[in-house]
């Protein structure tokens, strides 16, 4: 190491003189009045173009039909397209004009600003502290504990006000999350149309997005449910019915009689964060959640084979009625959907 020290160059003070800032060079528009006038016309051109675009915006607004019979332009909605193009053109033209103006015609000084210390001067700081001290002295907050304590009490209490309002988030759900509208003997019906499903008509590979019949008959006057009640019930009761080759199914423990000739029924609500899940692959028997790719094997009691879900999809025990239509043996034997605080972890 030390042997190299001899080879180091001798340091001289400021080997190269500080060149300072380079000389200011002028823009063509600064030195040539003809160029300046040309730039002026360019800026005015852009501003005029903006006005033209805005007028065209007004024209588009009134000229193109919207609603049931919209005007189209190459398969695009003409109104939206031209409103966007003309308004965009108007704003862009103003922008280009302003930039052109600033770059070519406005003042072209070069300014150097040196950095300053961020802290206040010690004089200012002393003044501020003195003012605070004077405030504390004059208010007498140290000498009058009654005022101090009641003030603290008042502020603490007013802080509780928004917390008490949180009560409106309740009441607590109780055991509502543990049960769905499914019950013993309820028919499994197709979603949307509400028709019952004949077990013998399903073939291997069939998928049916289904609902409990009560959603279609439990409303006012025996009609379909409506509004909030429908949403509340449907959010928990949605199921998928699939028919697989019985040889491809390993029935879960105690679930040997939950399927009908390979027809199984599982909750459609993903156990991860509750997305509706019906991407069923008939060859693998896996059902995939579109939100986070949790994958459940319906051939093996909907065991999780991939993804963030922690528990299998709950299975709805199926049976058939006298006429061969699919019915539920009972409600789900565990809560459907994602985990929640009070849910046991089984």
């Amino acid at each position: 190491m030390s042997s190299h020290d001899d080879n180091l160059p001798v340091l001289e003070a400021d080997p190269i003189a500080d060149p300072g800032l380079p000389d200011h060079t002028w823009r063509p528009t600064d030195v040539d009045p003809a160029m300046a006038r040309r730039a002026e016309r360019q800026v005015a051109f852009w501003f005029t173009l903006s006005m033209v675009c805005t007028v065209l915006f007004f024209v588009s607004y009134f000229a193109f039909q919207v609603g049931d019979d919209p005007s189209t332009f190459f398969g695009l909605g003409a109104s939206t397209l031209f409103l966007g193009l003309t308004l965009g053109g108007a704003l862009l033209s103003i922008g280009i004009g302003v930039i052109q103006w600033a770059r070519k015609l406005m003042g072209d000084h070069e300014i150097v600003e040196y950095r300053h210390s961020a802290a206040s001067s010690s004089e200012d700081r002393e003044q501020a502290l003195a003012a605070l001290g004077l405030g504390a002295e004059e208010s007498g907050i140290g000498r009058r504990p009654l005022i101090r304590n009641t003030l603290l009490g008042a502020m603490g209490l007013v802080g509780l006000a928004p917390i008490i309002a949180l009560r409106d988030l309740g009441p607590l759900p109780g055991d509502a999350l543990d049960h769905t509208i499914w019950s013993k003997g309820m028919h499994v019906v197709r979603d949307v149309v509400g028709t019952r499903i004949l077990a013998s008509e399903l073939i291997v590979g069939d998928l049916v997005n289904a609902q409990p019949e009560a959603l279609f008959t439990g409303g006012p006057d025996g009609g379909p449910m409506e509004g909030v009640e429908l949403q509340v019930q449907k959010a928990k009761s949605s199921v998928i019915v699939v028919r697989m080759d019985p040889d491809d199914i390993i029935p879960g423990k105690g679930r040997e009689d939950w399927s009908v000739d390979g027809i199984q029924c599982y909750s459609k609500i993903c156990t991860h964060v509750g997305c509706p899940i019906s991407l069923w692959e008939r060859t693998t028997g896996n059902v995939l959640c579109p939100c986070h790719q949790s994958t459940f094997d319906l051939g093996d009691s909907a065991k999780v084979v991939f993804g963030p879900a922690a528990r299998p999809l709950p299975q709805l025990p199926l049976a058939v009625d006298d006429e061969g239509y699919l019915i539920a043996q009972d409600d789900f034997d565990e809560p459907v959907g994602p985990s929640f605080w009070e849910r046991d972890s089984q």
Binding site: T25, W26, R27, P28, D30, V31, D32, P70, T72, G75, L76, G77, T80, L81, G84, I99, R103, R190, D191, V192, V193, T195, I197, L198, S200, E201, L202, I203, G205, D206, L207, V208, N209, V242, P276, I277, S278, L279, W280, E281, R282, T283, T284, N286, L288, P290, Q293, T295, F306
Partner: protein, 288 residues
């Protein structure tokens, strides 16, 4: 009545003529022959043709399909126990019509999923292949045009079908095929294809047979009318103009986010470019 009586009277007058027997015999022969020529040869021709069709289909099958599906359509397994080609017994004519008509079969190369490509066989050959595979075991037949065609629906019927079909589509199809039928990704390199190249017939057959990973929606799962409603909805998406401007493939937030971020990046680049470039001159400013 009078006319009838008159005719009956005339006939009855010649009834006992010597030639009457001959005339009746001739008439009978004529009638029989005529009926036979009208009805019998047609069905006879069809039977022969159906047999021929199956035979022709078998020829085509042995050349084009048997390598993966086996010489009798029984399927072929690899030595590792994976499936080279599944058994075609019981898949029915509809499945063959769909797979071959959309060019998915025959496969150009093995892979996770058979892509749509121009069909290799013509209509007659597809019909022959379908007839042959249908002869292997009972399965869904090629649907009638009246099942899937939207022609002949009144404007109002069609609108109702679109509304119903839209709800059925949102419940059963969007999970894989996306809200606009644009398709989407599936596990292990698979994908749900876009629905916008498929014809009405192909959509119906796909629902009926469940090609590849797709679950089937047999008539027990989704009635023929409901299938046609879904078709009406898909066709209505195709006809709907893109109100909001370019849909970017209707792929949703991924395509739109990519577009927005690329756009923002481009704008940042332009802003830097503007700040870095101003024309300068070597000339000095002359004060007046």
């Amino acid at each position: 009545m009078r006319l009838l009586n008159l005719t009956a009277g005339r006939v009855s007058r010649h009834r006992r003529s010597k030639l009457a027997g001959l005339v009746v015999l001739l008439l009978g022969l004529l009638l029989t022959g005529g009926l036979y020529s009208l009805l019998a040869p047609a069905s006879a021709e069809q039977t022969v043709s159906a047999d021929q069709q199956v035979a022709q289909g078998r020829e085509l099958f042995l050349v084009g399909c048997s390598f993966c599906h086996g010489q009798n359509g029984e399927g072929v397994r690899t030595t590792e126990g994976n499936q080279l080609g599944p058994s075609l017994v019981g898949v029915g004519a509809a499945a063959v019509d769909f797979q071959v008509r959309t060019g998915r079969m025959p496969l150009a190369q093995p892979g996770q999923q058979a892509p749509r490509k121009p069909p290799v066989y013509n209509d007659d050959e597809i019909a022959a292949l379908a007839a042959y595979v249908a002869s292997l075991g009972p399965g869904p037949a090629i649907p009638n045009e009246s099942d899937y065609s939207l022609d002949g629906m009144s404007e109002q019927e069609r609108e109702e079908a679109v509304v119903r079909g839209g709800q059925i589509f949102l419940t059963n199809c969007t999970a894989c095929h996306n809200f606009a039928g644009a398709g989407g990704a599936m596990p292990q390199g698979g994908y749900a294809p876009s629905l916008h190249q498929a014809t009405e017939r192909e959509i119906y057959e796909a629902l009926l047979t469940g090609p590849q990973q797709m679950p089937s929606f047999s008539n027990g799962s989704l009635s023929p009318d409901e299938k046609r409603d879904v078709i009406a909805y898909i066709m209505s998406i195709r006809d709907t103009p893109e109100y909001g401007g370019f849909s970017l493939g209707a792929l949703g937030p991924v395509a739109e986010g990519l577009f927005a971020w690329l756009g923002v990046g481009l704008l940042v680049g332009v802003a830097i470019w503007i700040a870095a470039h101003t024309t300068r001159t070597a000339k000095e400013k002359v004060d007046e």
